[in-house]
């Protein structure tokens, strides 16, 4: 990989400090997202996926959460070292986010227009630049950044038809142009009647519609990285399929890097280029989608695939994983998965496993596993 990654998470550990004890929600998570790629994170409920999604843009409430170690390097800047008041300059145009609950992710008090327009105004303000005296306040000088079309993160014109530069030049910050851009954002997410939707309040929209508005709002800021935290989990199956199709089409249209989080292996297989598998707060396997799903190199991933209804066509009956997910407050010593692992050896209960290192195996380029016996795992 010659290009610098958009996001590099290095050795990130996050604890939740509560009266009942300290929960190790994330332990030594390391991975990176190259420009324009979709990275999926998959795992069971409570494995730390959402904590990871919230930790990256600094959304975790700092008590009870605490970053124990590690870095979140976004476009070369460590977000964990950034003072809190500077974080907003990274959000929106830098990192955008789509949330799990479309019912709660739009403000019930404002019309669709106001919410999308607000996002566009934030972006325009940063594109337009501020007086030089205020420009060098922080490392995130989005104000002097070239228009998004010139940035490396968005390869193609964001909106169908016409070069972005021309559109930007021809578009002063007037109410009319703002409305035009809101309409474009809503059209982008295939809303058929944007003129009507504009004037509605969130409670007048269906769940799928709200999620479309949410996606439109996030994309209208043209973020370098979009975090989708289980964006379809709360929707009906039919709506889920529609939203997934939409996101898949948008991935091709808007060349933004995406961190796609889901508990559904099928969705991840469909959407992602690279996959990370999480278990008990650790990233235990990472690699290209075909490689992970075709030939998993960690016993947990293998067990997860066998327990998944849409992947078990040829494998006979569904196999559940014996035992249960360990409490994050009392993780077992050694590898967190060893009590449930069929390949476990005595040293697994002592040794936490190798760092997520690339496997030197033919046909497994970029595939990394945190199991000592990765070579012995058969699909």
């Amino acid at each position: 990989m010659t290009e610098d990654p958009v996001l590099r998470v290095e050795d990130l550990s996050v604890d939740y400090v509560a009266a009942a004890g300290t929960f190790h929600a994330l332990s030594n998570v390391t991975f990176e997202i190259p420009p324009g790629r979709v990275v999926g994170i998959v795992g069971e409920t409570g494995c730390g996926k959402s904590t990871l999604a919230h930790a990256i843009p600094g959304l975790l409430p700092t008590p009870p959460a605490r970053v124990r170690s590690g870095k979140v390097v976004f476009q070369g800047i460590d977000l964990t070292a950034l003072p809190r008041w500077k974080l907003p300059t990274v959000r929106g145009t830098g990192i955008g986010m789509v949330f799990q609950e479309p019912l709660n992710s739009l403000n019930p008090a404002y019309r669709v227009f106001d919410q999308v327009a607000e996002a566009i105004r934030v972006r325009r303000f940063r594109e337009r630049g501020v007086p030089a005296a205020r420009a060098d306040r922080g490392p995130f000088d989005y104000s002097r950044r070239a228009p998004p079309s010139a940035s490396s993160t968005i390869g193609r014109p964001f909106l169908p038809g016409g070069a972005v530069e021309e559109r930007l030049k021809a578009r002063p910050m007037t109410p009319a142009s703002l409305k035009e851009e809101v309409l474009e954002a809503l059209t982008l997410v295939r809303i058929n009647d944007p003129e009507t939707i504009l004037r509605l309040y969130p409670h007048e929209l269906s769940g799928g519609m709200r999620q479309r508005v949410m996606i439109a709002q996030a994309l209208s800021e043209r973020p370098a990285l979009l975090i989708a935290d289980e964006p379809t989990s709360a929707l009906d199956v039919t709506i889920q399929a529609q939203v997934l199709t939409l996101m898949k089409e948008l991935i091709d249209e808007v060349r933004t890097s995406i961190l796609f989080i889901s508990h559904d292996l099928g969705i991840i297989a469909e959407m992602a280029d690279d996959v990370g598998v999480m278990y008990a707060g650790r990233l235990i396997e990472f690699g290209p989608v075909a490689s992970i799903f075709g030939r998993p190199r960690h016993p947990y991933t293998r067990a997860l695939l066998r327990a998944s209804p849409d992947r078990s066509k040829s494998e006979g009956p569904l196999q559940s994983i014996p035992g249960s997910v360990p409490s994050l407050a009392r993780l077992p010593a050694g590898c967190a998965f060893h009590p449930r692992c069929t390949l476990a050896r005595p040293n697994c209960s002592v040794d936490p496993g190798p760092p997520l290192a690339p496997l030197e195996l033919p046909g497994a380029e970029g595939h990394r596993s945190a199991c000592w016996y990765a070579r012995e795992v058969d699909a």
């Binding site: 919230h54 843009p57 959304l59 008590p63 008041w85 907003p88 300059t89 990274v90 959000r91 929106g92 145009t93 830098g94 990192i95 955008g96 986010m97 949330f99 799990q100 609950e101 709660n104 992710s105 739009l106 403000n107 019930p108 008090a109 404002y110 607000e118 996002a119 934030v122 972006r123 940063r126 309040y201 409670h203 949410m214 709002q217 996030a218 800021e221």
Partner: protein, 339 residues
Amino acid sequence: MGRSITDLLWFIGKRLLLLIPLVLGVTAIAFILIRIAYPEPCVIWLGGHAKQSAVNQCIATFGLNKPLVVQYFLYLQQFLSGNWGISPDSIPVLTSIAQYFPATLELVVASLALIVLIGIPLGVIAAQSSGRWPDHLVRIFYLGGWATPTYLGAIVVAVFVAPFLGLPTSGQYSRPPPFPLVTHISVLDPLLAGNLPYVGDALMHLFLPAATLALLNMGIITRMTRTSMLEVLPLDYVKAARMKGLAEFVVMYKHALRTALISTTTVLGITIAGLLSGTVVVEEIFSWEGLGQFAYDSITSSNIPGTVACVVIFTIGAVVANLLADVLYGVLDPKVEWR
């Protein structure tokens, strides 16, 4: 839709119609209670040494020998035709009300402004720092105010705080105003007359009684704001607002507070009613020539029509305040339909 202007006007109209039975009931109760409290008002008015013939004549003049129900209906008849009775000092009650009510309204509006401008941000700060020292400080502040009786708070402010700040504690102006009192609103009258020094003087006189009222009644607003902010803050749309790249101030006041205020406005009506009744003590202590002082004087001087009129005005005030709160609630919450 149920949210158009006509729907709103119908809603307000229907609520105002409710005032009719309410005023009837309130006047009846006040009238009867006062007649029980003063079985022989003529003796009180004429003094203990008055001749029996004079007392009898007074009773006949005011119709006090008729049955109570008849007296009430006679009173009501006069009340509806605009004659609210005459005080013992022979000033019509309605004239006094027209003179004193604007002054009280001024005091209530000023303290309401202080409550909204200070109490609500304090609630936001408390919610943001929930469990840490700013939260505890704010809690001590508003619980202290809430737990202090009005007379005690007012006296403490008048005796100890006022000399410290060098602010006046008595009346609306330092010297008798040279301009006509048109509206009886102490800040507005000199403004209409173009007398700016008197505007400043009026504001200085207004500050302490308004601040006292605000301080003592702020607690419930701060507390409601804090509680509903704590409910709203963990919601996804607050995170979504942060993820738009908005500054924390905008996230708090434009997004979180906007929805949190919906529950706060409900209590706002109650607070205004509390402010109105709170003025009785505060006006007396700060010699503020308003309805509260008139009510106090009416009660102590056995002014029956004056007392009933004050009760009616306070009732209407409470109903209108709650109506205002309901309208505000509906304006803030787009899910509300006017019905």
